[in-house]
C-alpha cells in the first residue's frame, strides 16, 4: 500500500486523531464533604468524590488512613458502631443516603458488602445464599435465585452437587465467593468489598479479581485494598487516602488524590501519592 493512497492516509489520520478519552458512566454516589468521627475524634476528614456506575473504584492507602471507615459510609455500616457519626452528604442516585426517611436495612439490600475474612454462616451452602432472600420474604423462585447468584459468583460448577453440605467445608477462596454470592442474592446494585482477597492465596485472589471484572458489567464495585497492584489490576478509578498527623498527635484520614487508575500509577498529581505508590512512603 502506497503512502500516496489518499483513502489509506486519511484513515491513518483518523485513527491517530481518535482520542480515547475515558468515558464515565452515571454517577451512583456523589460524596460531598463527608467525614466520619468516633466519639468526637475525626477519623476521616471532608472527602468529596463521585463514584461511577459499572466501574471498579479502589480505595488505597496506608494503615489507619480510614479506608475501611470510609467504605462503610456507603451502606451505613457505621450506624452500627456506637459513637460513630457521619458528617456531610452522600447522595445515592441524587437521594440523601442519610436522610431521615431512609431505612438502613433497605440501603444494605441495595448495597451489599463482602469482608476481608470469608464469614459464611455455619449452615449449608444453599442456606447461606438463600438467607438474604428469605429475610426479605422472597420465597418464590428461591432455587433459581440461589443458582443464579452462585453462577454469577463463579462458584456454581464447584458446588452444584453439594448444595446441602456445610459451607464451612469449602476452601477459603470458595467461601469468599460464597459470600459474594450471598451478597448478590438480594439483587444489590453496588457491592462493597473490604480487602476481599487479603486472606486468600494467589490463585483464589486471581479468581476474585476476575470475578470483579465480570461483575462490573452488572454492578458498581468499591474495593478497599492494601495491595496496590491489585488496585492497579482491577480498578478503573483509584482514590488514595493518607493520614494527616496533627501536632498533638491526632491522626485523621484524608483523601489525597482521586483519578483514573492508569493516571495514579503512571503520573500521579500529588507527591504523596507518588511516594506511596512507588514504595517511598515511610
Amino acid at each position: 500500500m502506497s503512502v500516496t493512497d489518499t483513502s489509506r492516509t486519511v484513515k491513518i489520520a483518523a485513527d491517530l486523531n481518535r482520542t480515547p478519552a475515558p468515558q464515565h458512566k452515571d454517577v451512583v454516589f456523589d460524596v460531598k464533604d463527608v467525614g466520619v468521627s468516633y466519639d468526637g475524634n475525626l477519623a476521616v476528614r471532608e472527602v468529596s468524590l463521585p463514584i461511577y456506575s459499572n466501574e471498579v473504584t479502589a480505595i488505597i492507602g496506608p494503615s489507619g488512613c480510614g479506608k475501611s471507615t470510609f467504605i462503610r459510609v456507603f451502606n451505613r455500616m457505621n450506624d452500627l458502631i456506637p459513637g460513630a457519626k457521619v458528617h456531610g452528604t452522600v447522595l445515592y442516585h441524587g437521594e440523601d443516603l442519610y436522610g431521615k426517611d431512609v431505612d438502613s436495612v433497605e440501603v444494605r439490600k441495595q448495597i451489599g458488602m463482602v469482608f476481608q475474612k470469608p464469614n459464611p454462616f455455619p449452615k449449608s451452602i444453599y442456606d447461606n445464599v438463600a438467607f438474604g432472600p428469605r429475610v426479605l420474604g422472597w420465597r418464590k423462585g428461591l432455587e433459581e435465585r440461589v443458582e443464579q447468584a452462585l453462577r454469577r459468583a463463579a462458584l456454581w460448577d464447584e458446588v452444584k452437587d453439594r448444595l446441602k453440605k456445610n459451607a464451612l467445608g469449602l476452601s477459603g477462596g470458595q467461601q469468599q465467593r460464597l459470600c459474594i454470592a450471598r451478597a448478590l442474592a438480594t439483587e444489590p446494585e453496588v457491592i462493597l468489598m473490604d480487602e476481599p482477597a487479603s486472606a486468600l492465596d494467589p490463585i483464589a485472589t486471581t479468581r476474585i479479581e476476575d470475578l470483579m471484572h465480570e461483575l462490573k458489567r452488572d454492578y458498581t464495585i468499591l474495593i478497599v485494598t492494601h495491595n496496590m497492584q491489585q488496585a492497579a489490576r482491577v480498578a478503573d478509578m483509584t482514590a488514595f487516602f493518607s493520614v494527616d498527623i496533627a501536632p498533638e498527635g491526632d491522626r485523621t484520614g484524608i483523601l489525597v488524590e482521586y483519578d483514573e487508575t492508569s493516571k495514579i500509577f503512571t503520573q500521579p498529581s500529588d507527591q504523596r501519592t507518588e511516594d506511596y505508590v512507588t514504595g517511598r512512603f515511610g
Binding site: A232, F265, T266, Q267, V277, T278, R280, G282
Partner: protein
C-alpha cells in the same frame, strides 16, 4: 523505602551512562579513522561495537528483570521506560560509528580536500557535543538543557546539507564520484547520530514531565 529496588534503578542508570561513554569513544575513533584515513583504527572501531552491544544487552536484561520483579510505577516506571529507549538510541549510535568505520575502508584512497576534513571534524564534534548534552540532561533531569538539542541538531543538519552540496559540485573523476557517494553516507551517519541525541532529549522531557512529545515533528511543522 525499597532499598534494593532503588539500588537496581541506580545501577541501571549508571550502566546507561557507561554505555554512553563507550558510544562517545567509538564516535571519536570513527572520526579519527576518517580524517586520518586509518583503516587499522577503523577495524578497532568495528570490533569495539561488541563492547557497546554487550552493555546494551545487559541493560535490557536488567530492565526486563526489574519489570518482572519490582513492578515499577509512576516516575520509576517512566525512568525505566526512558532507559529502555535511551539504551536503544546509544546502541544505534554505536552502529552508525561502525558504518562510518566500514566506509573508511571501502572508500577509494582519495586525498580529500582540507575543506572535507574540516566538514567531518565539525560534524563529528557537533555529534559528540549532542551526545554529551543528551546524557547530561538525562542525568540531571534538565528539561531546558534537553531542549537545546533542537538548535544543536539544526547545526549538524546544515553541515550535512553543505557537505552534500560540496560533493554534488565534484567533476567527472569516477574515483572522486565513488568517494563522494560513500562520504555522503558518512555525513548522513553524523546527522543521524544527532537525531538519536535529540530522541534521548525527548525521553528526558518525558521522564520529567510525564508527557511524551517530539521536540520537532516534520508531519506537524507548526506545532
Amino acid at each position: 523505602m525499597r532499598v534494593g529496588f532503588q539500588e537496581e534503578l541506580d545501577h541501571l542508570e549508571a550502566s546507561i551512562h557507561e554505555e554512553g561513554t563507550l558510544a562517545l569513544r567509538s564516535l571519536r575513533g570513527a572520526l579519527n579513522a576518517l580524517v586520518q584515513q586509518d583503516e587499522e583504527l577503523a577495524d578497532e572501531v568495528i570490533a569495539f561495537d561488541d563492547e557497546i552491544d554487550s552493555r546494551y544487552l545487559a541493560v535490557e536484561e536488567g530492565i526486563q528483570e526489574l519489570l518482572a520483579r519490582q513492578t515499577p510505577v509512576a516516575s520509576d516506571l517512566r525512568l525505566v521506560l526512558a532507559m529502555l529507549h535511551v539504551n536503544l538510541h546509544l546502541e544505534r549510535i554505536g552502529d552508525y560509528c561502525v558504518t562510518i568505520a566500514k566506509l573508511v575502508k571501502l572508500a577509494p584512497p582519495v586525498a580529500p580536500d582540507r575543506m572535507f576534513v574540516d566538514a567531518f571534524e565539525e560534524m563529528g564534534a557537533r555529534a559528540e557535543e549532542m551526545i554529551r548534552v543528551a546524557l547530561d540532561s538525562f542525568a540531571s533531569r534538565d528539561l531546558e538543557q534537553a531542549e537545546t538539542l533542537v538548535d544543536l541538531d539544526e547545526l549538524i543538519d546544515r553541515a550535512n546539507r553543505r557537505f552534500v552540496q560540496q560533493v554534488l559540485s565534484f567533476g567527472r573523476d569516477p574515483k572522486l564520484h565513488e568517494w563522494g557517494l560513500r562520504m555522503i553516507i558518512v555525513s548522513r551517519c553524523f546527522e543521524r547520530i544527532g537525531d538519536h541525541a535529540v530522541d534521548i532529549g525527548e525521553r528526558t522531557a518525558y521522564l520529567v514531565s510525564g508527557e511524551f512529545r517530539e521536540f520537532t515533528d516534520a508531519s506537524h511543522p507548526n506545532n
